[in-house]
């Protein structure tokens, strides 16, 4: 099987590229390659984490996966009941139908939900706009999603502004679950939440994936969260997949120097560290530049850089079953 593929895929990204062009007056147009040739499949009921620093392209990839950003080239396909829908080209009725199948949970529950709306209305309006008119069905569906996200029904009469951040994020998830979507992009769903609330949100996602077969693309910058939340982790760097594989293997046996650096830098409970300096085995910062370095995009920061890395682009190689990395060391 090719890199990033899986059994029973519900969403397929094939050689996906998303480029942004910006043109200033009197200047040459510049192209930013946010996603640069990514192939990835997400299986039914699977949670795949996209991990990377800011500027690695993970959010753009998530948006392209559900059709919110059009691919520059490559293809995004939703596979359901043997029917394939080209997400990137969908228009009109197909597009509206897709909105029920592909959903997104946003990072910031304070800006993604209208605070001046009652909780009930913020759940009712999406249902109605998708043609669910029967009052009984509306209220049954709303009760059901509230139960699934662990919120008491009494909150339905409250205004959104009266809720805490953790409760608002649950409303954000409840809205997504209204139509039992095929795939949900969860864009940093827990990074704005307190530690004591993160676990519950991750558990809701786990349960939906297991019980209803909903697939999730879980975007996070936190390797530890990725390990808990996802079955597979894809590490992105400058729009490319540096490494992809089963979560446990990527964390316990990382191949790519960038994955290793991310893991090394991740804080762990380690009071003995206080007198030591943490090793940071990369140079400088991730530079969002319009021109990617030639060869391996990571080579200017890589501690193990070789001559070959500066000229040739490494392909993803399978180094153990289902575990791929793109690095000339292997």
């Amino acid at each position: 099987m090719p890199a990033g593929s899986t059994n029973d895929p519900v969403l397929k990204l094939e050689d996906l590229c998303v480029f942004f062009t910006s043109k200033r007056f009197m200047e040459k147009a510049v192209v930013v390659k946010a996603v640069d040739g990514v192939s990835l499949e997400v299986g039914r009921g699977e949670v795949v984490a996209l991990v990377g620093e800011s500027g690695s392209g993970k959010t753009t990839m998530g948006r392209a996966a559900i059709g919110l950003t059009a691919p520059t080239s490559g293809k995004v396909t939703l596979v359901e009941n043997d029917l394939e829908v080209d997400v990137g080209k969908a228009k009109g009725k197909t597009w509206k139908g897709l909105r029920k199948r592909l959903q997104i949970i946003f990072q910031d529950p304070f800006s993604s939900i209208d605070p001046n709306m009652r909780v009930y209305d913020s759940l009712k309006i999406p249902l109605q706009s998708q043609g669910v008119k029967d009052a009984g069905e509306v209220s049954r569906t709303i009760d059901d999603v509230m139960r699934r996200v662990g919120l008491p029904k009494e909150l339905l009469d409250n205004y959104v502004f009266q809720l805490s951040g953790g409760q608002r994020q649950r409303i954000g998830i409840a809205r997504v679950l209204l139509f039992n979507p095929a795939l949900v992009v969860a864009d940093e769903p827990v990074s704005m939440l307190d530690a004591s609330l993160k676990g519950d949100i991750i558990h809701i996602i786990e349960k939906e994936a297991k019980e209803r077969g909903t697939a999730f693309i879980f975007i996070t910058h936190d390797m530890a969260v990725a390990r808990v939340a996802a079955q597979r982790i894809a590490v992105l760097y400058l729009g490319k997949v540096a490494e992809i594989g089963p979560s446990d293997r990527v964390i316990e046996n990382p191949y790519h120097p960038y994955t290793k650096a991310l893991l090394q830098a991740s804080p762990t409970i380690e009071p003995g560290m206080r007198d030591k300096t943490k090793e940071v085995n990369v140079r400088g910062d991730l530079a969002i530049s319009t021109e990617h370095p030639p060869g391996c995009v990571f080579h200017p920061r890589c501690p193990l850089v070789m001559d070959r890395c500066k000229t040739d682009v490494p392909e993803l190689k399978e180094l153990e079953p289902g575990h791929w990395a793109s690095c000339w060391l292997y």
Binding site: G165, A195, G199, D222, L262, I269, R274, T277
Partner: protein
């Protein structure tokens, strides 16, 4: 020796629903050359506490009780002018999460650093600036750059350089790495550890991230709903946290070595309408009758102090 100390500090915010007790009779101390952490989630009062201690509270928030001693002087009793002249930035400096956005976009980093030095009558030469930048691992060329040309980590480091420019004795950092990537975060924490050693300053690190705190501090306070629930040396705390909230917070912190994560059921109580007893009671797995009635005082348990009726 104790350098900075808050004693019985209480800070409230009057609202239409009544007074919100953001910080309630908190004692905190920071010794000379000590690295101390304050951990807690949103609403714990940790940032408000720091702002109160550095006289940076903005109305309607106000200190209603307690004192803040720096070398034994109650700095809350000083006039604004006295405090501004002799303490702010010269003895007590602070770096916030968003500090890196505090630079003016229209002047170079170097000129903004010079301004601080000049305003306080210090030598503001190019060589002082380059020395300052060197202290925070930044290249000399940064001085001639504008803020937008720097990455988040570079800006945050430049801001730390600014905070250090007047050689303060205390550096308070409030979530200094929260908006930054993990690799940048690690370099900033390394930097704070090194600065404490090399410059002999005391550092107070406020963060919600227990893992981050565990790698940096010697001693920590855990706050919940405006009060300190546990305090002790970091080695003792992380070996076995005593307060049920601390225990919950630790198991809620995702780590690379575990596939499991637990949360703490329930939500923070309404700070304008606090329950009479221990504030953690509604979420506590060990809640007893006494917890609902009386607020537990901090008691010595092992090498730590814990506010819980279990002990």
């Amino acid at each position: 020796m104790t350098l900075l100390e808050a004693k019985g500090l209480s800070i409230v915010f009057p609202t239409s629903r009544g007074e919100v007790k953001a910080v309630d009779q908190v004692d905190i101390s920071l010794g000379e050359r000590e690295f101390v952490g304050i951990a807690g989630e949103s609403g714990a009062g940790k940032s408000t506490l720091a702002l109160g201690m550095l006289r940076l509270l903005t109305p309607p928030g106000k200190v209603v009780a307690g004192e803040v001693l720096f070398h034994g002087t109650d700095i809350l009793k000083l006039t604004d002018e006295q405090f501004r002249k002799d303490y702010r930035w010269t003895k007590l400096a602070m770096v916030f999460q968003g500090s890196m956005n505090g630079f003016t976009p229209v002047f170079t980093i170097g000129s903004q650093l010079k301004e601080v030095l000049a305003l306080h009558g210090r030598e503001a030469s190019d060589s002082t600036i380059s020395k300052l930048l060197e202290t925070v691992d930044l290249d000399n060329s940064i001085a001639s750059r504008y803020p937008h040309e720097l990455s988040g980590g570079q800006k945050q480091r430049a801001f730390i350089a600014m905070a250090l420019s007047l050689e303060p004795e205390v550096l308070v950092t409030d979530e200094p790495t929260t908006a930054l990537d993990v690799i940048t975060q690690a370099t900033i924490i390394n930097l704070l550890k090194r600065l404490r050693k090399e410059l002999g300053i005391s550092v107070l690190l406020i963060t919600h991230d227990l893992a981050l705190i565990s790698e940096a501090v010697e001693r920590l306070y855990v706050m919940y709903a405006g009060g300190v629930v546990e305090e002790g040396p970091s080695i003792d705390f992380f070996a076995k946290p005593k307060h049920p909230y601390s225990q919950g917070l630790l198991t809620s912190t995702p780590t690379l070595t575990s596939n499991e994560i637990k949360g703490i059921p329930g939500f923070l109580p309404d700070l304008a309408n606090l329950p009479p007893g221990c504030r953690f009671t509604p979420r506590c797995p060990f809640a007893m009758e006494v917890c609902k009635r009386d607020y537990p005082p901090l008691k010595g348990v092992g090498g730590e102090r814990v506010a819980c009726w279990l002990y």
